[in-house]
Amino acid sequence: MYLFNFWYIAGWSREITVKPLRRLIMGQPIVMFRCKDGTIAALEDRCSHRNYPLSKGEICDDVIQCGYHGLRFDRHGACIYAPGQDRPPSGGNLISYPVEERGSIVWMWMGEPQRADGALVPDLSYLDREGWTPFLGGYIHLKAEHTMLTENLLDISHLAYVHKSTMGSTPALMAGCDIEVTLEPFGVRRMTTMNDIPTPPVYRQSSLVGTQIDTRTESTMRPGLYENNVVVKPAGVEPWRTKGVDGEYPIITRSFHGIVPETDRSTHYFFGGTFKKIDVPGMNGDQAHRILLEDVDVLESIQDNIQYVGDRRTINLRNDAAVMQWRAFVKRLQKADADPRAAVESVG
């Protein structure tokens, strides 16, 4: 099950060059390449003659030529040349996907092209803020279905177990934290507050906090994108001054996770983020990658287990409110024919 009518991360800018790049998204093979004016073309990755992947062909002057029989297609997918024929075959045009490039991220619209509105591209401009330390370019090929990753990100009570050597703290304090989940027009928002918990290993080397911390995380999930805004302060020194995460704190981290279905059993996992005032060496994209691999191991094991236990009943616990609200959101979205505007009306 895919939610097509949204912008999804299709790649990092640096990946798209004048050489063709093949990527499978939502079960659709897509070839991307950069044109002479710097913009990106994205077409279905097949020749309309015998389905040979165009990505195995060559590009010359913004035209991609099939490596099998030499048919040529322009950047919009129009078949413009077939060797030995006077006119190009009129029925041979290919699907072209709308693309928007923002910062170092390439977004692609997988749904009906006439609904592709650049104004709906998620705003990740906070990655470019001055004085912050960004980490970008993260990618993991996850051999598990995308909803598993979505639900893993919405679930905080696994932190104390799966990430015990990195982000974890006392399990009961983490699982028993204050949690507020709201259904939003765009998806789900979750606010968690943990007060006076033993400092998780990732922050132990920081001089900005002590051995006990207060931490608050505001997270949002929308189709294809999860975002986290984490603030940390020494435990008990000052009370929380706002209801949310606004304001100045010793440690502030923002991150985003692109959840892009590849097939019904695999997912492109793009990630990045930015730190403000972090004084821990090695706290960067590589570390984020290592932490996420801990989730990958869990999710791929579940994916493998599904074939045997997929029809068994599963239960939902205290911290699954965000997951359940998300499932309700998706259900309503499907009813509204995956139209984000219709969903706003039905939710609002």
Binding site: R313, N316, L317, A321, A328
Partner: protein, 107 residues
């Protein structure tokens, strides 16, 4: 003593003492009413404490909020007067409340 009566699909009646301030789910669990699972312990996160409120009671009990409404989309055989019992707080005006238990809990 304020009371609540839970009625099973087979018509069996369980009348129990209901302390004010407790959730109806909590009252059911303390009295071991069969058919109220409450897997999440009362956080509007599992949809397994579903009850049907009689038409004569629904205005006093009140309608579900947005999160509960979302959860009710997942329960077995939802109806117009479906509620999650963890979201109903026992109080004076609900003394004598009767609730019908669903055929089963679960998503």
């Amino acid at each position: 003593m304020p009371t609540i009566t839970f009625v099973s699909q087979a018509g069996r009646r369980y009348a129990v003492t209901a302390d004010h301030g407790l959730s109806v789910m909590e009252i059911a669990r303390r009295n071991e009413i069969p058919g109220i699972d409450a897997d999440c312990g009362g956080n509007c996160a599992c949809g397994t404490c579903h009850v049907y409120v009689g038409n004569e009671w629904i205005e006093r009990v009140g309608r579900p909020g947005p999160s509960e409404e979302a959860m009710l989309e997942f329960v077995h055989q939802p109806a117009d007067t479906s509620r999650l019992s963890c979201q109903i707080t026992m109080r004076q005006e609900l003394d004598g409340l009767e609730l019908l238990l669903p055929e089963r809990q679960g998503l």
